[in-house]
Assembly symmetry: C2
Homo-oligomer: 269 residues x 2
């Protein structure tokens, strides 16, 4: 049965692709699982029908037969458990990848979101700038620690995993802040890389092609044609793979297509 | 091999048992797994030896043979996967319990921690009170949504799971705020319950016996005798079970002992 996820009808980020459905879409694309998307208005998100799926009235949710899930981390984990490509087979490596999933969402994302919220809610306050500086220091601290661990490695721990997927999706939220660019091994790399996509490369794209493409495509969130434009109703793989990922080393049978598209995207930037 | 976790030598909460090692200890106690604790100074947490275990220089970590994990959520999940009692066998119920694990740490905990941080970092600012009110509203909103989902149920989704464990451990952080007490089905229940421990009961204890006992026992964190006092070096089950849990319906063979101790604790308050 094809799973259905929910996403914003009009994303608060104005269509930059930073909403939390994107990490679930990426996971689907990475493993080659078709899926459908149901768009929700803000009003619908707080109504009983949606609250039955998501107690906190947010997106994304995941429905497949009798199973209903919420929390993007849990949904990505569910996808990763049921398909090859997002979690290692080795038990210890798998546990470590899961640790990175939690690290992305519980250690890295909160200070980034707190900074975003300050920009939205406190911009007119006299103390906004001073507080913003402090919040940026919190984000810098985490980025520095992450950078220290990553070093010259391709991925956070061995091969590409759902931990990398979630970490990249979280770091994408820093677009436009300039903070990512301060960290050499996390920011846009100047030298070309011929090796398979790696965390560096995935982070590079956001500053160029990835974000531009996300912006272009997810603007469809605000219109009724989204499913057709993204082609997500069972056939979004080609478009979104090029959009959000480029294939990981574990990606599915469409890897060659996706890689070619990814390359074209990078060249076009 | 007995796993070893790390904890604060001197907990920033002054020994109230709110540090993130407590949720891991609770998971160990719940499944009856002996464990050892290595206490760390703040200085040691930022040194290379610990950063090799925890890239963000925090506690807890988990070591067992060649496996090293960080992130309390990932450690609890690791324990839950390897022992009966913290995750349902049914695949859909298991996925749902995992969703509640993520919900506790990524939806419920961040606003609670943000409020804590404001109390620590911004108490002297002229705008502190006004901002604190806004943060409290954020916490209230989440508590209200959680309350709405819980209703009269015993646990968040069917039987007791690691999702309940993490949710309770997060809600414990609200001790002293008065916010939990505003939500009838989450706060201290007045009427006695004879049924097995349930989320309500676990939440009740913190306002009385649980927190007092946590405070008393975890004060040992600040002294070198902690391991002996808590008895965690392979034999902490009886003490800590009475302290932190009372047995869940899925708890191990020591359930009867634990329940008796839990009852004594409540009577003593």
């Amino acid at each position: 049965m094809t799973p259905t996820i929910t996403a914003f009808e009009r994303s608060p980020d104005g269509g930059q692709g930073l909403a939390r459905d994107m990490r679930v879409r990426w996971a689907f694309e990475e493993v080659g699982q078709p899926y459908e998307v149901r768009l929700l208005s803000f009003k619908a998100m707080k109504e009983p029908a949606h609250l039955a799926l998501h107690p906190f009235g947010q997106i994304p949710t995941y429905e497949e037969g009798d199973l209903a899930l919420f929390e993007s981390g849990a949904i990505v984990f569910h996808i990763a458990e049921r398909h090859a490509g997002l979690l290692p087979d080795d038990a210890d490596a798998r546990a470590s990848a899961i640790a990175w999933m939690f690290a992305a969402l519980t250690t890295m994302e909160p200070p980034i979101v707190e900074r975003e919220m300050a920009l939205i809610l406190e911009r007119d306050e006299a103390w906004h700038e001073r507080r913003l500086r402090r919040l940026e220091e919190s984000v810098r601290k985490r980025l520095g620690e992450l950078s220290g661990r990553l070093g010259d490695a391709d991925w956070l721990d061995g091969g590409f995993s759902a931990g990398d997927l979630l970490m990249v999706s979280v770091l994408l939220r820093l677009k436009g802040s300039g903070l990512l660019e301060e960290v050499p091994n996390l920011s846009a790399l100047r030298r070309p890389r011929r090796s398979p996509p790696r965390l560096h490369a995935r982070l590079r794209r956001p500053t160029g092609g990835l974000h531009r493409r996300i912006g272009r495509l997810t603007k469809a969130h605000s219109g009724p044609g989204e499913e057709r434009q993204l082609g997500v109703a069972g056939g979004g793989k080609q478009t979104l793979r090029a959009l959000a990922t480029g294939p990981g080393p574990n990606s599915s049978e469409n890897a060659a297509t996706g890689r070619a598209q990814g390359t074209r995207t990078e060249q076009a930037d």
